[in-house]
């Protein structure tokens, strides 16, 4: 014959045995001691927190024959009858399979009869949320004024489905989830009573996975005990729960931080091949990213639920992390749980999310704490895996004050997708409305735009890599934005050859696309060759800017549709 499940065998039989829920136990005990037991109770709370157990305890207590303070004693005839489920006056009803109004009418009819043996007739209606509306309404009058010998106890996990008219007729008790500590203590106690030893950390791991439900925790323990042996190892727990190794989560985060797409995908492939539970893996990943985010945002370390070595790792990663990116990743990956649950195609949703996380550009950077920011720049190349990236990446990683001024784009990736679906929408670049205006205002707007583009330039170069590595290399060999006019960005290339390259339609389109994604508006591109003899690009820009204010030159520019590429002083 099968042994009884642990959660049934260790169901608390007295108030003293009950774990947690002190607020409820105390109230009920006082009520019992003072003879102020209400006629109807409603117990709510998540699964496995003790609703059914307390309902039975209360049923015992009101019928117990022991002296007042010890009730329920668990030893008298009445208590034993309830525990064994043979008490005629304690009627436990499954509302989920007796949902109809007929079932409710049956209760109403029978409640009028006095109890057969005990003092009180107790109706325990479990899963009460499933009763039909008619059944609820049929119960209303009885719940309001039941005969003095009757006690109703309703229990449910979903209190929002219970009508307000029922709620107002009951004393409502809200059960809390069990804390990590109390769950693990109880697990250790049950294990030792069953003759099993738990390795260090086992109880905590189970408790964490059970998320406050004692029945879940005991179920896992039950399953572990069935594996045989007298010691339960951490490895067994991990195997059973599919708990992913912390190293793999950390490896994935490392790859994400380093923008190492192949590396990140390889981690996922390994995890999937090892048969781990991907949903659990994603949950661990989100937990890890959340910890990183908290550390990065300078939160108190006590908020993070991690062991010391994990914490050290998190602190190490936090040095290179970018708060905006972390925020985005946490959102991205926490939305994944549902997809993984319903998707029959295994790891595809996770892989897509990783590609999205790495390929999509970060939105506006949230300013980091200055102390950490100073340490960021040197730390970056260490984790940069691609050798050809090593030289250019640091400049991309250094937080630029101008980047902070970039507009907070809500989801640039989506917009990017939208703009992709109609690639021919803006062949020449759509002109920004405010740039169309004449005069100084327009020039100022252009200058401001140029400054913004200059700030974003390293990011733009970085994001171009995803589309075309060659183009990135080209841009890195000294191409600079020098002017913006009427929605056209003028790029300066150091050589004629480079200029011709960049003028190729497909390369140009790529740059324009990345550019428009960053700027939130479409810009065209034009290339010019770098004028000789220039040592100070900033000075040139300043010169161009001031020159453009000259009305004569402005008119000339309009007539010839020209660009200013250099300024020479004639008086010299």
């Amino acid at each position: 014959m099968a042994s009884q499940a642990l959660y049934r065998r260790y169901r608390s039989q007295t108030f003293d045995e009950l774990i947690g829920q002190e607020h409820i136990v105390q109230t009920l005990r006082n009520a019992l001691a003072e003879g102020r037991v209400a006629h109807a109770y409603l117990f709510t709370g998540p699964r496995g927190v003790g609703k059914t157990t307390v309902a039975r305890l209360l049923a015992k207590a009101v019928n117990c024959t022991a002296p007042q303070p010890q009730r329920p004693c668990g030893e008298c005839d009445s208590c034993r009858a309830v525990a064994e489920g043979r008490a005629v006056d304690v009627i436990e009803m499954d509302a989920a399979s007796h949902t109809s109004v007929e079932d409710a009418r049956e209760i109403i009819e029978r409640v009028q009869f006095r109890p057969a043996l005990a003092r009180t007739k107790v109706y325990i209606i479990d899963e009460v949320h499933m009763l039909s509306t008619a059944a609820f309404n049929a119960l209303l009058k009885t719940l309001e004024e039941p005969p003095p010998h009757a006690l109703f106890i309703l229990a449910t996990t979903e209190v929002h489905k219970v009508p307000a008219t029922i709620l107002s007729r009951c004393q409502r008790f809200v059960f809390h989830r069990h804390s990590l500590a109390s769950t693990s203590t109880h697990l250790r106690e049950v294990a030792s009573r069953e003759g099993f030893a738990l390795e260090a950390g086992v109880a905590e791991t189970i408790a964490r996975a059970a998320t406050g439900s004692m029945r879940d925790a005991l179920g896992v323990l039950d399953q572990l005990m069935a594996y045989g042996g007298t010691t339960i190892t951490l490895e067994q727990v991990r195997n059973l729960l599919g708990a992913s190794e912390m190293q793999e989560v950390a490896a994935l985060v490392d790859a994400l931080l380093a923008m190492d797409l192949p590396g990140a995908l390889r981690v996922v492939a390994d995890v999937a091949a090892s048969g781990a539970d991907l949903r659990q893996f994603v949950r661990d990943l989100v937990e890890h990213l959340r910890a990183l985010m908290l550390v990065r945002a300078g939160a108190d370390r006590s908020l993070i639920d991690a062991a010391d070595d994990e914490l050290a790792q998190i602190e190490r990663q936090a040095v290179t992390a970018d708060l905006g990116a972390l925020l985005r990743w946490v959102k991205l990956f926490s939305e994944l749980d549902h997809q993984l649950r319903v998707s029959p195609y295994g790891q595809l949703p996770l892989e897509l999310a990783i590609v999205e996380a790495i390929v999509a550009p970060a939105p506006a950077t949230i300013p980091a704490r200055p102390v950490v920011a100073a340490r960021r720049a040197p730390a970056r190349p260490a984790v940069e895996p691609a050798p050809q990236e090593g030289h250019v990446a640091p400049s991309a990683a250094v937080p630029d004050p101008v980047r902070q001024a970039a507009p907070a784009v809500d989801d640039p990736f989506l917009r990017h997708l939208a703009s992709e679906q109609r690639p021919s929408a803006a062949p020449g670049g759509v002109v920004l409305p405010e740039v169309q205006g004449d005069g100084v205002a327009a020039a100022n707007a252009d200058a401001a735009t140029l400054e913004r583009i200059e700030g974003l330039w390293p990011d733009i170069i970085r994001d171009v890599r995803v589309y075309d590595k060659t183009l990135q290399a080209l841009l890195n060999s000294g191409v600079r934005p020098i002017d913006v006019k009427d929605g056209v960005l003028v790029l300066e290339a150091p050589s004629e050859w480079l200029m011709n390259k960049l003028e190729q339609p497909n390369l140009r389109q790529t740059i324009e696309r990345v550019l428009s994604r960053h700027m939130g508006a479409n810009y065209g591109i034009r290339c010019v060759v770098e004028a000789q003899q220039r040592e100070n690009p900033g000075a040139l820009r300043e010169q161009i800017r001031s020159t453009r204010k000259d009305p004569l030159i402005k008119a000339a520019l309009n007539i010839f549709d020209a660009d200013i590429i250099g300024v020479e002083d004639q008086t010299e």
């Binding site: 014959m1 099968a2 042994s3 009884q4 499940a5 049934r8 699964r47 496995g48 059914t52 499954d94 989920a96 399979s97 949902t99 479990d126 899963e127 949320h129 499933m130 439900s213 879940d216 179920g219 039950d222 399953q223 069935a226 594996y227 045989g228 195997n239 599919g242 797409l261 192949p262 995908l265 390889r266 492939a269 999937a272 091949a273 048969g275 539970d277 949903r279 993984l340 649950r341 319903v342 029959p344 195609y345 295994g346 595809l348 949703p349 892989e351 897509l352 590609v355 390929v359 999509a360 990017h416 997708l417 992709e420 679906q421 690639p423 021919s424 995803v466 589309y467 075309d468 389109q509």
Partner: protein, 352 residues
């Protein structure tokens, strides 16, 4: 596989079998199990073997498969083993009504658990197997709760679900969850070679395609014409990229007609096939070609990967996923499929 395990006849999932055997040996059987995992992975077989092992006349930890009890359970006419699922629910209905059944109704569940309190008639335990548990309606799920929490000592309930995650948490917390994972590729290939006599190359390919679903792989091995159809389908899907928009839209119209004509599963399979191809392209383009599925077309995948940008492939994969979602949500199938086709990424270099 050791000899004692051969009677279970389950490929992969050694841990699950070992766990159940130890539970039986140590008299630590749970009163309720949920067996979860993707389609065609061996869940139903595991449930059946467990029922046999618990009622086998030889009373060992393994089913003998020889005795009367084992054979009757296998044939589905043992009085103490009660099996219910979408198939049994639809059994008494007219064909068109049966096709419309999408959920396990509360009546089915009530009927299934009605006599749970009766003692076993001739076996040692009464076994209740519920297939397709992910299709339980909300009311039906809730009706199971009390039975699952405290069934009589001689009953064992086994729920079989494709996605254990979509069951009510209150149900899962009352059961022991055995989450079967995809069988490793090498093991599927070995099984195909042994049991179906496939040559190594074919077995490898089929194993890769199966994604660890051993049942699916075996079924495909038995039906070479289906495999062929699949190859043709893939070729057709790939040629779409070369065709003008008009031809693509015509193709979408045909698929939509099929979909409306009741071949939903075929269209969904086709989209899954397409998705798996583009996933390979994505993985290759992103620099992780080890995990790809279409190993027979590795060269084509590599060529395709060099032609498309990662972001484009990602966008297209997302749009296929969206189409699947929309079809499930009952959107006009033609519109949904056309939408995907219009999002088909264009090769780099041929763009305007």
């Amino acid at each position: 596989m050791t000899d004692s395990l051969t009677n279970w006849g389950i490929i992969g999932h050694e841990w699950a079998v070992a766990f159940l055997r130890r539970s039986i040996a140590g008299d630590r059987m749970a009163h309720a199990y949920v067996i979860g995992g993707p389609e065609g992975i061996g869940k139903a077989l595991l449930a059946l073997r467990l029922a046999q092992a618990l009622n086998c006349d030889r009373a060992g930890v393994d089913p003998c498969l020889q005795c009367r009890a084992c054979q009757r359970i296998a044939h589905g006419n043992h009085p103490d083993v009660r099996v219910v699922g979408m198939a049994t629910q639809a059994a008494g209905l007219k064909p068109d009504e049966a096709a419309r059944q999408k959920e396990l109704r509360i009546d089915t569940v009530r009927e299934w658990q009605r006599d749970v309190t009766l003692k076993p008639y001739e076996g040692r335990r009464r076994i209740f197997i519920l297939h397709d548990a992910e299709r339980l309606t909300e009311a039906a799920s809730n009706a199971l709760l009390k039975t699952l929490e405290e069934p009589p000592p001689y009953a064992t309930l086994i729920l079989v679900a494709h996605t254990a995650g979509s069951l009510l948490p209150t149900i899962v917390s009352r059961c022991q969850l055995l989450r079967l994972r995809p069988v490793p590729r090498a093991q599927v290939a070995a099984a195909l070679r042994e049991m179906r006599g496939l040559i190594a190359g074919d077995a490898e390919l089929l194993a890769a395609w199966s994604g660890g679903r051993i049942g699916w792989a075996l079924r495909m091995a038995d039906a070479p014409e289906e495999l062929e159809a699949r190859q043709e389908q893939l070729a057709a899907l790939l040629s779409l990229a070369e065709q003008p928009i008009a031809a693509r839209l015509r193709w979408a119209e045909e698929r939509a007609k099929e979909y409306r004509a009741g071949e939903q599963a075929a269209v969904m399979d086709m989209l899954a096939l397409w998705q798996s191809w583009w996933r390979d392209v994505l993985l290759t383009a992103a620099g992780c070609p080890q995990a790809i599925v279409h190993i027979d077309r590795r060269d084509e995948v590599t060529t395709a990967a060099s032609h498309y940008a990662v972001a484009d492939v990602h966008a297209f994969l997302t749009s296929i996923g969206l189409t699947v979602q929309r079809l499930r949500d009952n959107v006009n199938p033609q519109l949904a499929i056309e939408g995907t086709l219009l999002a088909l990424p264009e090769r780099r270099g041929v763009r305007r």
